[in-house]
Amino acid sequence: MTQLILEDQHGETTMVNMGPQHPSTHGVINLRLLLQGEVIAKIDPIVGFLHRSIEKLGEMTPYPGFLPYTDRVDYLSAMFGNQVYCMAVEELLGVEVPRRAEYLRVIACELNRIISHLIAVGTMAMDLGAFTPFLHAIRERETVNDFMERICGARINYSYMRIGGVPRDLEPGLDKDILKFLDRFEKFIPEFNRLITGNEIFVRRLIDLAVIPAADAISCGLSGPNLRSSGVDYDLRRDRPYSAYPEFEFRVVTGEGYRGQTGDCYARYWVRIDEMLESAKIVRQALLGLPEGDVKAKVPRKITPPKGEVYSAVESSRGEMGCYLVSDGGEQPLRVRFRTGSFTAMTVLPKIVPGLMVADLTAFFGSLDVVAPEIDR
């Protein structure tokens, strides 16, 4: 980002490349570290190894055809990419999405949030050397993936939403299965906590580590769980309501220094654990209060929105995911731009990391829950 070559001024430091192939960089990121012993004196995150020019592709693809690409922005929470893009186009077109479709979107999104956070907490445990919690999380995730498969036909790259709603209704009987899973899931989290969250070694590794003060978090543009764990009570679902979220009751989880301080790695971890339970609550409310009606608004086959620009944002599992869309009245957007939480999370690294140890860096990096493709897009 800043300077690519770290200077070894005193001959006391070692330059180490962490990545692009490293087990705990969660994808293809290169972190150049300047080490003094095991203490990091300087960090230089180098991104761009996973650039797939999705934004450029958007300018070359018709509006409906770009939808599958939005899955790939953040492959762990593809639903939010879908949603933010659909919301942007719908706003351009001025289409009203049916209420049932909004509910279905919320259900899918919140299930996706559970999936994504399960991976986040699991990989974080794995970064700290505990392998089993990861697979326990994966086990629950597979169950949710099965539901996703039944909702939209795919397990990872959902391509579920369409401009104007969702393509199809819930399969009969699926809502009961999901409710049954939620009952189990709410018991699984305490077990998971007993296994890893409450583990003294785990707690000691994380508390008071890499504290991001609220001011820093805001100035670095952090969003989502990373921001909330610093004590900033900000959630797009509540503060900039979209979709059907105003109709549900849920708590915005903020880091409160349950152990250690607000804004440390443990707070970030804990916010995710709590948010999963909140998501489960939302899914439950949505399933029980599912309104009747259409699932897709009438949209012309050939979508040519009027000239204009629009920015839509959703609360993705990695923070605010925004989509900025400029239309010139043609079949293809003039400009597509995604704002993602992982990219801004990377900016906090040079500020916080110097002074930490290598082992802390993996924990900190895990707690930021960065997904490499989302950084580069």
């Binding site: 089993t132 000691r204 082992a359």
Partner: protein
Amino acid sequence: MKELFFELSQSWQLEPLEMTGAIALWLVVVSAIVLSFVATFAGVTSWVERRVAGRMMSRIGPNRVGPQGFLQWMADGLKCFLKEDVIPNEVDKPLFRFAPYLVFTGTFAAFAALPFGYGIVAADLNIGIFYVTAITALVVIGILMAGWSSNNKWSLLGGVRSAAQIVSYEIPSGLAILSVVVLAGTLNLQAIIAGQGGFPWDWYIFNNPFTLMAFFIFFASILAEGNRTPFDLPEAESELVAGYLTEYSGMRFVFFFFGEWANLWVMSALITTLFLGGWQIPGVADLAGVVAGVQGAAKTLWILLSVVVFFAKTLVLVFVVIWIRWTLPRLRVDQLMVMCWKYFVPFGFLCMMGSALFVLIAQSPLGETVHLVVRLALTGLGGLVLLLFVRRTILNVRELQDPFYFKVLE
């Protein structure tokens, strides 16, 4: 065994030169026996570890090669032996080549003094336990050598971490050993076992509160010395890629892993010997007397029984070590040192002093009864914890409404 050999050789009436040859041959044979045992154990344990880990993670583990995947370790070993031995260009070649053997030697040499049963030991050294702790120091040098010679920064970090860790943790483990040695009054491993009894309250772990403490200290420190989780920082895969193992492949990698799994046996056998009564058969107060009293097949049977008891205890401990590995996260380097110097070392001293105190108490007139009460109480405490544990386990299964499933093999 050795006595048997000398009796035999004397009955053959060999010439001095032939005798030298015979002794050399004997050494080779013993080494071969121990080596084949170590190799088999390391292999089978690698399979067991993967199966156990699999079940703990709600998956199955290797089950395709041979019956239940039992031959997986052979397949893996064969694969590694047939693989190209990659030596990167810029490594320090002589050291890089030599390091795995050093690590393996360090662990393997420890087997010379380890007991396997009553009278079954390759070399019954009178400084047994001290020899074992000393000879495993070679492992440090090997790891340091591997870390340095790999010419890789991650490897070097791993090697340095490992050296610092092993050297530090030798102190608490030594103190914990001393608290047992104070009770036993000997360094000889067979004699330490002979000082215990068959039942749990006769074991040194429940001998007094201090040895109970020493047991935990010893367990943790020996895990740290063997680089097992939660102390596996030298090869922490999420931080240091693979630590000092990063550049190794093929046969040399296998040697490191041989060492690691052999070390698993060494640590379990040591704990069994020092704290869990070794080969003492419950209900047999004086095994030495019993064995001396019988002849022929009965003698062999008794010795075999002691071997079975020893193996059972050791294998349970091996399971525990594996189980801990797949449960706990890893400590950080500074926490590791804090744990050693601020927790283990002071408590280790306390254990040593306390044990010495208890020896004095037990010698006093009323001491015998007090000691018995303490032993029984501690054993009861251990049993209680075990019961609580079983209850917690059952509750864990019930809470998620998973059906109980007792099939071991899948």
